[in-house]
């Protein structure tokens, strides 16, 4: 008997999200009922949870790739499926798979026993997948709140640490205010346009003679809230404290995956729905934010001695580069932004795995430069890999990060922003100082005591090697990434 449901295509296109939603219930039940009997009250669930979560993420990666639905809007135009959403979802799932696989040793040594951590990781995957496919201001807000709520809880996970409580509280209060601004901006846009659907907004603003000032105010509030979540200046104040205070595995998740999803939202807003405003509003706004972020990233990073805060400020600088790529307004701009996002995600996972590895054997509650000394003597290949990764972050050829920055500069100069490009180069040079200072400390500092570093676990070693090969030997076969990024960018523009 053949029949079709009302939302049949939509359900098929949302199979990964459906699978993730059912699996969070399964994980919750599994964890709750396994530790129920009195003899099993302190069951150590983390290894079994890690394997279960890895399997779930692996299967959902396959579900994401094998999406049989053509590019169309789903669920009454609230969600959309196109190339951008499919490939960014794949990157998000693979990034979270990396985060889960490296977490076992850290969670054992820091005594993070609760199994709900993995429930939250799968929920992060679900919320980011939903956010990437969002096509309506309502669904963007709901999924952004979904993601942010999980991150607030994760940032405050360590119960006996003041840093963690501070990080969670700061992130919660500031992030909630940002979401409020998003909602206010969305309501103003609805007030002036009459619809919240991104496609309809694009059609309505196509030949705009003049907009009401409330519309501009709404747009500013909207995009400011999204830039807040990314951590670009002038909304960067929370990043350093939250990355510092949260448990290192949570900072690894913060630094790697949410930027993909929020940048997908920003790309859809800028290039699909409010494209006509580009010469009026977007290019100035993103140029200003990009330049300010680069400046903050390079100046504040110079004075930092704590590793996690250093990486936080460097991420502010990278978001500045991404904003500049957005400001250029061409297809090359989108391609450079997506490519930079991919390379940045890989590099961030690598470096935060390294910080996680340091945190296993550190004495203090925060990591400073003194913890970094001596890695090269105990694990020289890993030290070489980290040094090359830091060179990639600074933009030294022929590593992957250089090509990312090259693409951004090409698109910026292509749009004739010469002064902006010169400023970006200068801040890039200044920020290279604190990257190379790290390498100097690795190789040339001597200390009185011998230091001990634990060997890398199997999951961490697998991902470190894979990412290292991808980024360091990038120039041998760049076509795979470039062709993929071109396909995604053109899919967005159509």
């Amino acid at each position: 008997m053949k029949f079709s449901l009302f939302f049949q295509n939509d359900t098929i296109a949302f199979l990964p999200e459906l699978f993730l939603a059912i699996s969070i219930l399964v994980v919750l039940m599994h964890g709750s009922f396994l530790g129920l009997s009195a003899a099993a009250l302190y069951t150590y669930l983390t290894p079994s949870m890690i394997r279960l979560t890895s399997i779930i993420l692996f299967i959902s990666a396959f579900l994401v790739i094998n999406n049989p639905i053509e590019s169309q809007t789903l669920w009454n135009s609230i969600f959309i499926t196109d190339h951008l959403s499919i490939w960014l979802k794949l990157f998000v799932v693979l990034g979270l798979l990396a985060c889960v696989s490296v977490s076992e040793a850290y969670m054992f040594s820091v005594r993070l026993r609760a199994f709900e951590f993995f429930f939250f990781i799968i929920s992060i995957c679900l919320s980011l997948c939903l956010l990437i496919s969002s096509y309506d201001l309502l669904s963007i807000y709901l999924n952004m709140e979904f993601m942010s709520l999980i991150f607030y809880v994760l940032a405050a996970w360590k119960k006996n640490s003041y840093f963690s409580a501070e990080a969670g509280l700061k992130y919660f209060i500031l992030g909630s205010v940002a979401s409020v601004f998003f909602l206010f901006g969305a309501s103003l846009i609805y007030f002036s346009m009459g619809t919240t659907n991104l496609g309809s907004l694009g059609l309505l603003t196509e030949n705009l003679a003049g907009c009401s000032p409330l519309f501009y105010l709404g747009l500013i509030c909207l995009i400011s809230a999204l830039l807040f979540k990314l951590g670009s200046a002038p909304y960067h104040m929370w990043i350093a404290d939250v990355y510092e205070g949260a448990p290192t595995i949570v900072s690894l998740i913060f630094a790697s995956v949410p930027k993909l999803a929020i940048f997908a939202v920003v790309l859809r807003l800028v290039y699909t729905s409010f494209w006509c405003l580009f010469p009026v509003f977007w290019e100035d706004f993103f140029c200003l934010c990009g330049l300010f972020s680069l400046f903050i990233g390079c100046v504040c990073g110079l004075g930092e001695t704590k590793i996690k805060r250093l990486l936080a400020f460097s991420s502010v600088g990278h978001v500045g580069f991404l904003c500049l790529g957005l400001a250029s307004g061409s297809v090359e701009g989108i391609q450079s932004v997506l490519f930079y996002l991919l390379i940045y995600m890989l590099t961030a996972i690598f470096l935060w795995i390294y910080v996680l590895h340091l945190d296993l054997t550190s004495d203090n509650s925060f990591l400073t430069f003194s913890d970094v000394i001596g890695l090269v003597r105990s694990n020289p290949v890993f030290g070489l890999g980290i040094a090359l990764m830091i060179f990639s972050l600074a933009g030294v050829p022929p590593l992957g990060g250089f090509f990312a920055k090259l693409n951004i500069f090409v698109s910026v100069i292509d749009s004739s922003y010469y002064l902006v490009a010169i400023f970006a180069v200068l801040t890039s040079v200044v920020s290279a100082f604190y990257y190379i200072r790290l390498i100097k400390i690795f190789y040339f500092e001597k200390a009185e005591n011998w230091f001990y570093f634990a060997p890398l676990t199997k999951g961490a070693a697998f991902f470190v090697v894979t990412i290292g090969w991808t980024v360091i030997f990038f120039m041998l076969s760049p076509n795979l990434f470039y062709l993929l990024i071109y396909k995604i960018a053109i899919g967005l523009m159509i």
Partner: protein
């Protein structure tokens, strides 16, 4: 829309309640006055014709935010300084409340007094609304229609007037027009369950993670450190190096020892 006199009356009531919230010495009383204030806000929303917003006021404000106030009062140890009434005041309060309830029972059980009460209250509202002491039928109808919005005006007219029954469903041929119209209450629900159904489902998942997050952050399960290390021991971490912090010589290679956990 709402007549200014009614609005001013409600605002004075609201201001009085607000002053009571902050002037009372007992924190629980001030929370209760806050709930009354929320009821007032809900009533104003009803008057404006946005019934969905009015019910949301009750659900969100009185249901969630008042409970938040309750939790804060529970956490903070605020001393309530109460002024005790004297016995004369107590006697007066009991007698006056007894008389009031006696009047209520008396009036409620007699039809003539009920009718008198109804026409008296209708006259008061009419006087306040139209500044007109003369009391005529369609005068009252027009004032009520002016005061309140469509459905709510019909509700009041139905309460106060029996001859509205002439327009009822038995005698009126086009009753389905009155029956099947959408109002501010069922319009959002039509949309929420059909067009935006997926958002409702996602909102449910958000509620789930909020609950799990609150529980996992606050529920204390104290597992001793030794038990944790025993339970998590596998073959690959059974033997590990321990850093000895109490060493004074610079090359303290021999201070490292390989231990297996006892």
């Amino acid at each position: 829309m709402v007549d200014p006199i009614i609005f001013i009356f409600l605002m004075i009531l609201g201001a009085g309640l607000g002053v009571k919230v902050i002037s009372t010495q007992n924190p629980v009383y001030s929370g209760l006055y806050l709930v009354l204030l929320f009821f007032l806000g809900s009533a104003i929303s009803f008057l404006l014709g946005v019934e969905f917003m009015a019910l949301l006021f009750l659900l969100v404000y009185a249901g969630a935010i008042a409970v938040l106030v309750l939790f804060v009062v529970m956490m903070l140890d605020v001393k309530a300084v109460e002024s005790v009434w004297s016995s004369g005041q107590k006697r007066g309060f009991y007698i006056s409340s007894f008389l009031f309830f006696l009047c209520l029972v008396f009036v409620g059980s007699s039809y003539d007094l009920l009718f008198l009460l109804q026409s008296g209250s209708a006259w008061i509202i009419h006087v306040l609304a139209s500044f007109n002491l003369v009391y005529s039928e369609d005068n009252l109808k027009t004032t009520i229609n002016v005061l309140f919005d469509g459905d709510l005006a019909d509700f009041f007219l139905l309460c106060l007037y029996n001859d509205i029954i002439n327009d009822s469903f038995l005698n009126n041929a086009s009753w389905f027009v009155n029956f099947d119209s959408s109002s501010a209450l069922n319009d959002p629900s039509y949309l929420l369950y059909s067009t935006h159904a997926i958002l409702l489902i996602i909102a449910g998942v958000v509620l789930l993670i909020a609950m799990v997050g609150a529980i996992s952050l606050t529920l204390q399960k104290n597992c001793p450190d030794s038990l944790h290390k025993q339970l998590g021991r596998e073959s690959k971490n059974a033997i590990f190096m321990v850093k000895n912090k109490s060493s004074t010589n610079p090359l303290n290679l021999h201070n490292f020892k390989a231990t297996s956990y006892k």
